[in-house]
Symmetry: C2
């Protein structure tokens, strides 16, 4: 099975959570919107979104095509891919738990995005900067602690398999946790540095993820898109004093 | 199996999406935080959240206990319950599709909430009212059309089973769509009235849902909590001129 990933080609964004799973597993996939040619590129992605409502049409990227199937919503894609890539717990209870954690990660991703877009995604950052300053302050002071304390607590209270978020082996949740922390470190370096002692287990987890051979090779490759000020995690110094 | 639902007792909120599925299916369940007595009420809910991190501890309500299993995140709970309550498509492709739709509904729910809380959930509405006016204007003008046009398009382009969102029979997605439209009608009555002709199929879907005997009986019961100005969908006239 060759998987086809569809996502905006110039930002890591939500697509990166899927890409990390495909890369760690060494899966056969193409990154459609980043390729040029007939049936490729952003036009191919947009054509699939416009076509065939009622037939698994995505609301937004990322989405994955696997044969005749089209799966959208980041956490849903990972719930689908996880068992196929050997990146999910085996039992149903473990899969539900992994998915719950993933959905909570995605909730934090949305809140991180809204720090620079608290009024509307359709407006530029500079058009909502006063509101962004307010929202970012609450995100730094209240939401980062709440989410990261929760995730750190998961690791701290595990009775076995403390190396990984869900179960006793690496899952897509660990890869997503890596990306979440990487994004937060990029966007809020001062806040994250001040809080580093509060989440040592998450930091160690991310180091373990980054050291996985496939993931390490991917992170060093040109396939890994850098964070930038068009994506979800943006470094605006005024939002992280 | 007696299911135990945990959610804040005074608002419909996200818990209502789960409640609708349990009620339509005639499931055996208790609404723990709304009951009084030993091991019941909000303290019981909070105790479960505080206990045993790493052991399926929820990040936030709603969550469902089913025997030894605790499942959190609204869409995850519905993905778990759907097949057990006869409210999900039978095949994996259909279930992924239903879950994608549910996650997109939940995204819209979050955005509806943020119209009155664009800066921080920890602040009162009156402390972020100027920003709420801005965010609500974009929600009404851009996001309501984008989401509802998408959902309406799903129904319009189906080749079979046009009565329901996913597949050929009622699923939890239809129940959630009912709740989403009910919430939007409550919070944004003027906007929704002006746009009603743009989504006739969604309106008809909601009427079919509300006419289901179990759901109709539930909606007329005292178990159905009214919308109010403490929940996700709030009627602040200035946000819907």
């Amino acid at each position: 099975m060759r998987y086809e990933l569809f996502y905006w080609p110039t930002i890591p964004g939500r697509g990166e959570f899927v890409r990390l799973a495909l890369e760690e597993a060494g899966a056969d996939y193409i990154d459609v919107a980043r390729l040029e040619g007939r049936g490729l590129g952003v036009p191919a992605m947009q054509a699939l979104m416009a076509a065939g409502r009622g037939d698994f049409a995505p609301f937004a990227p990322p989405f994955l095509r696997a044969g005749r199937l089209v799966v959208a919503q980041t956490a849903n894609i990972l719930a689908y891919l996880g068992p196929r890539l050997g990146l999910a717990p085996a039992a149903e209870a473990g899969r539900l738990w992994a998915h719950q954690l993933q959905l909570t990660i995605m909730d934090m991703v949305t809140e991180a995005h809204d720090t620079h877009h608290p009024i509307a995604g359709a407006l530029y950052y500079h058009e909502q900067k006063p509101q962004a300053l307010l929202r970012a302050a609450h995100f730094r002071g209240t939401r980062i602690p709440k989410f990261l304390d929760y995730f750190e607590g998961i690791l701290a209270h595990k009775t076995s398999g403390r190396a990984w978020m869900a179960g006793n082996a690496l899952t897509y949740v660990d890869l997503s946790m890596y990306q979440l922390l990487a994004g937060l470190n990029y966007a809020f370096p001062n806040t994250m540095a001040r809080r580093a002692r509060q989440h040592p287990r998450l930091i160690a987890l991310c180091a373990r993820v980054a050291a996985r051979p496939n993931t390490a090779a991917y992170l060093a490759s040109r396939r890994r898109l850098p964070f930038n000020e068009h994506g979800i995690f943006r470094r605006y110094p005024e939002l992280d004093p």
